[in-house]
Amino acid sequence: MFNYLFLCTLLFVIGALGMMARRNLLVMFMSIELMLNAVNLLLVYFSSIHGDAQGQVFVFFVMAVAAAEITIGLAILVMIYRNIKSIGIEQLKNLKW
């Protein structure tokens, strides 16, 4: 019942599924956030059971990088929206997958 590892893996898998199954760019970005949050929670948990502060420091870096990544993602999204007037990547299939 009381297990962070289970919770984090579940959250990570939900995020990964969102990345794979959804085709709406914004939802995919949110799924990335979920994955990174799961990792953060796991790092904090391990930091707690090891009694070691390094994990918490690492979480801070992950947060900063996640914010940076989502910024880049939204900039690309703006560029795409300007070109195709949509945010569904199923409309982007000029290149063979």
Binding site: R23, L34, Y45, S48, A75, V78
Partner: protein, 174 residues
């Protein structure tokens, strides 16, 4: 049932439930709201795991920064559902199986090994140690984070700008 266990279960359910809403909803606005709820749940779980300062940072960075950015993205690109209906493919079962298998393996083998956190405040607060580490051993990483943010600043500004090249023919692949 101890109080702390009750809070753990409450916030776990909140986090996972909101994540599931993000996974299945077709309305982006609902998804953003669910993300807010999920991030708040994670912030609370941070505190329960003994990382109170990270809980605060989570609220500042994610909810004050990332979520507002995402909300901006939603408003910028909003279209009525009549114009854009997302097609969710159903043939991805193979991709869904892989992470599920991974969870199973991890759960079966690792669950009994790990201790639980029964009381987040049984240890002394790690805030002081964390701060020391940030500014001593992890100082280079701090600088590289700053560097990365500079990269993002240039990149996002440049890619989002509307200064376009007129002489290029559209859609030609070079």
């Amino acid at each position: 049932m101890s109080n702390i266990l009750f809070f753990f279960i409450f916030f776990s359910v909140q986090t996972i439930g909101s994540a599931v809403v993000i996974l299945f909803t077709r309305n982006v606005m609902y998804a953003v709201t669910a993300l807010l709820s999920s991030l708040l749940g994670v912030a609370a779980l941070f505190v329960l795991a003994g990382a109170d300062v990270l809980g605060v940072i989570q609220i500042i960075v994610y909810i004050g920064g990332v979520l507002v950015l995402t909300l901006f993205g939603v408003m910028y690109t909003y279209q009525s559902p009549k114009r854009y209906q997302e097609s969710i493919p159903h043939k991805k079962s193979v991709f869904i199986l892989i992470p599920l298998l991974f969870v199973l393996v991890l759960l079966v083998q690792a669950l009994p090994l790990l201790p639980m956190i029964d009381d987040p405040y049984q240890h002394a607060s790690k805030v002081e140690v964390t701060g020391m580490l940030w500014l001593t051993e992890y100082l280079p990483i701090f600088e590289w984070i700053g560097f990365l943010l500079l990269v993002v600043l240039i990149g996002a500004g440049w890619i989002g700008s509307t200064l376009v090249q007129e002489d290029k023919s559209k859609g030609e692949q070079v």
